[in-house]
């Protein structure tokens, strides 16, 4: 692992007495490799390395009896700080219902996550309702109904011949009239470069004024995570991120990339296919996972 690699790097140089800047450069190269292997975007890696370079070159490291540990601590602390720090709870509306929109690429886990959030909200004492605004994917509405059944949360749908904008509007109206205080809108997966479909999301947003727009990102996403996050942030001003499929062994560097490029908090992580597999995001755990 990275800690051992840096130990190795410094061991080779221990005989030469005090550590020099060149030795730290070697350690920084190992850190860069580790972050790239963890799928952190290469530009984010460059920025991160230059950020920690000064601290790593400081005399606390150069004169330390355990310089490798010092360097690892600097990296870990910086990663943890970068990924944490902001509000990680759902922003509730001043007057109900709170409207939450789930968006993201195809297959990232939106529909399943909508069900997980619905169950979580229900267990927390709220009255959530799910809105089926994916009219494109075969059996998407049925999928949300099954998910709703399993979580004990009702589903509002208008079939697949009505526009998602209208479904969202009517869904909110129905929620208000029936006393639901949380509305979770499941949208169709789409490419961030699909102008028409990105515009559709903007129109849904303008029509229902969500309190939260959550980008669902697959934890195994590679370098492309920055492109996706940047586009969704620019078009929709997303308010948060949910990292799905963290129960796999992907290092999850996409988490750092997405946070670095949007500044949005990662609010939850998906850790399984069942509807109770939703956990709050822990930045320090994510940091050590990324570092491997």
């Amino acid at each position: 692992n990275l800690s051992e690699k840096i130990q190795q790097v410094f061991k080779k140089l221990k005989g030469k007495g005090k550590l020099t800047e060149k030795d730290i450069e070697a350690a920084l190269r190992e850190i860069r490799l580790a972050l790239l292997e963890a799928d952190v975007n290469y530009k984010v890696v460059k920025e991160f390395i230059s950020k920690i370079k000064n601290k790593a070159m400081g005399h606390e490291v150069l004169e330390s009896l355990t310089p490798a540990q010092q360097v690892i601590k600097i990296v870990n602390d910086e990663l943890t700080e970068l990924m944490g720090g902001s509000q990680s709870k759902i922003e509730l509306a001043d007057s109900p219902p709170t409207v939450i929109m789930l968006v993201g690429l195809q297959g990232s886990g939106k529909t399943t996550t909508a069900g997980k959030l619905a169950l979580h909200m229900k267990k927390s004492g709220y009255r959530p309702i799910l809105v089926a605004a994916d009219v494109y994917r075969p059996a998407a509405v049925k999928q949300l109904h099954v998910v709703g059944e399993k979580s004990g949360v009702p589903v509002f749908d208008m079939g697949t011949e009505v526009s998602p904008v209208e479904i969202a509007q009517k869904g909110i109206k129905h929620a208000k009239a029936s006393g639901f205080d949380i509305v979770l809108i499941d949208t169709a997966g789409r490419l961030h470069i699909d102008k028409e479909l990105m515009d559709e999301l903007v129109r849904i947003k303008d029509a229902v004024l969500p309190n939260e727009i959550l980008l669902v990102v697959d934890a195994m996403t590679g370098q492309d995570a920055v492109n996706v996050a940047e586009a969704f942030y620019r078009e929709l001003n997303i308010t948060g991120v949910i990292l799905s499929k963290l129960d796999g062994d992907a290092r999850g560097g996409a988490a750092l990339s997405v946070k670095a490029v949007t500044g949005c908090p990662i609010k939850y992580v998906g850790v399984g296919e069942k509807l109770d597999a939703l956990e709050p995001f822990h930045p320090e755990r994510m940091a050590s996972r990324i570092l491997g």
Binding site: M220, G222, Q223
Partner: protein, 278 residues
């Protein structure tokens, strides 16, 4: 990255960045850069156009080394199993494949062996309905191996040319789910010698280094015969298949470039290599 530039360290760094961006992975990228630097020295290359075409050709060669299209055996049933982690595009790719075979005049049958995920059977049925193809299914929650078995018997009795089996998405690190997929393959091979004739791993082009672990573990469990690389219509390059083809020798047989039924093409190493630098 434009041609007509002088050959300097900055150019090499830019090439490196392009390849890293393409998800080839730092280890593969370093190996490729090492190769390029050696060739540049050995052949006295002094212009950037030549360096670019050198690296594009090297990548194409790696991919061509293990490249073969999917070929159906004529005059008999061909069983194709489609596997992969969650959400990568298995079910959609099966619909696309079924469409291709049907247009070639083949009699196609589908097996809905994802008995776990919400509305998975309905999703496959909707695609099949659009194509006029039959789906063999059982209740949600039933044993997927039993569905695969039923589908195989039905395909044999109906004298189908192709049976494509859809399976549930599963993370490669989940031992019980990997045992389940091995069992599905065992049941198929016990019932028909030589089957399954194809075991295709579906990989999402947006996936990073974890795709290597996916390919390794699914290959160890099932002996993959090919890869379908989906979602290349996005901005992700899918470069992770370069180390996968290079190290595991599994050929990429198709690419998915959209959500429509026609959005499936045979893999072209030259086009893929070229696209890495777009």
């Amino acid at each position: 990255l434009v041609g007509g530039r002088k050959l300097d360290e900055e150019l090499f760094e830019e090439i490196e960045d392009v390849l890293i961006q393409g998800d080839l992975g730092i280890n593969t990228v370093l190996e490729l850069m090492e190769f390029v630097r050696k060739e540049v020295k050995a052949k006295g290359i002094n212009n950037s156009d030549e360096v670019l075409s050198l690296i594009k050709q090297k990548i194409e060669d790696i991919l061509k080394e293990n490249c073969e299209p999917l070929k159906l055996i004529s005059g008999q049933l061909n069983v194709i199993m489609v596997v992969g982690v969650n959400g990568v595009g298995k079910t959609t790719s099966i619909a696309k494949l079924a469409n291709k075979f049907k247009k070639d005049g083949k009699r196609v049958l589908l097996g809905a062996a994802d008995t776990f995920r919400a509305a998975a059977i309905e999703q496959l049925e909707e695609w099949a309905g659009r194509l006029g193809i039959e789906v063999i299914k059982q209740q949600e929650g039933s044993d997927p191996a039993a569905v695969a078995f039923d589908a195989l018997k039905a395909a044999q009795s109906r004298k189908a040319d192709v049976l494509i089996i859809d399976t549930a998405g599963r993370l490669q690190t989940k031992k019980n789910l990997m045992e389940e997929i091995k069992k599905i393959k065992r049941v198929i091979s016990r019932e028909m010698s030589g089957a399954p004739h194809e075991v295709l791993l579906v990989l999402d082009a947006t996936t990073g280094q974890n795709a290597i672990s996916q390919a390794k573990l699914f290959n160890e469990a099932l002996e993959l015969t090919g890869i379908i690389l989906t979602k290349l219509d996005g901005t992700a390059k899918g470069g992770i298949i370069v180390p996968i083809v290079n190290e595991l020798g599994i050929p990429v047989k198709f690419i998915g470039v959209g959500e429509g039924i026609e959005d499936l093409y045979e893999f072209d190493p030259a086009k893929f290599s070229e696209a890495l630098f777009d």
